[in-house]
């Protein structure tokens, strides 16, 4: 089965003033799955996770489970939550970590335009040069059967800094 992989819309580039969130709207329903590719850095140190919302839904309609680790200190953990107003999508780069460095994250959303409940998976990592990395794996669920027409990337506290980017891709299985 051939798979086509196409960027939808343009890449969001955060300017000098930073941005509280990045949204992709009016997503067409012509693909099978979606992928969001993100390169970001935050202006805060308050949270190790990045978050996602669908269709601007800020109700208590998200659930997720996260695995995270710190290979440098050999520590790891998991977090799970349900009935939240956003879901963890992965990790990123704290303000206090290696300067001029951006964490990366990829979010896969299968069957986004279908009429079933929506799931997604995400993985991301932040880097603190010669000290630690912080990989995060997330599996989440949006309690809605609506087709996904918008995706919002945000933080619990803080904003994306300049040069952060996000791009949306459609996967079409033929």
């Amino acid at each position: 089965m051939a798979t086509n992989y196409t960027q939808i819309g343009l890449t969001a580039n955060v300017g000098s003033g930073g941005a509280s969130s990045i949204s992709f709207t009016s997503i067409p329903n012509t693909y099978t799955d979606l992928i969001v590719k993100v390169s970001t850095r935050w202006d805060s140190n308050s949270d190790g996770f990045s978050y996602i919302r669908f269709n601007s839904d800020s109700g208590s309609n998200y659930s997720y489970r996260v695995l995270y680790g710190d290979p440098q200190t050999s520590s790891s953990g998991s977090v799970s939550s349900s009935g939240t107003d956003k879901a963890v999508s992965g990790g990123s780069q704290w303000a206090a970590w290696t300067s001029s460095t951006f964490g990366n994250m990829e979010i896969y959303i299968p069957n986004y335009a279908g009429s079933t409940y929506k799931s997604f998976s995400g993985d991301g990592v932040g880097e603190n040069n010669a000290t630690q990395t912080y990989p995060v794996l997330s599996a989440g669920y949006w309690n809605s059967t609506s087709a996904i027409t918008s995706i919002t990337l945000l933080q619990a506290s803080g904003a994306f800094v300049q040069y952060s980017t996000a791009s949306l891709y459609g996967i079409l299985k033929s």
Binding site: G9, D43, G158
Partner: protein, 72 residues
């Protein structure tokens, strides 16, 4: 903190930077406060657990390493 958001319209291809409304700014502040409160609660819980653990080890007269051995 940035008071703008970036919107990529996938239909028109337009990328815009939009000012947050007063409501969005207020909601963001509320979200941040809620998160901070939750983190403080988790930290207090972890501290209480550590204190209880230390007290129990003292009561049992064993070290943490010895407890780990017992628990396999």
């Amino acid at each position: 903190m940035a008071d703008t958001k970036i919107i990529v319209n996938c239909e028109t291809g337009e990328v815009t930077e939009v000012e947050l409304t007063a409501e969005e700014v207020a909601q963001r502040a509320a979200d941040a406060a809620a998160y901070a409160a939750l983190e403080a609660e988790k930290e207090a819980e972890a501290e209480a657990k550590a204190t209880a653990k230390a007290a129990l080890l003292t009561k049992l007269g064993i070290t943490a390493e010895e407890a780990a051995l017992l628990l396999g």
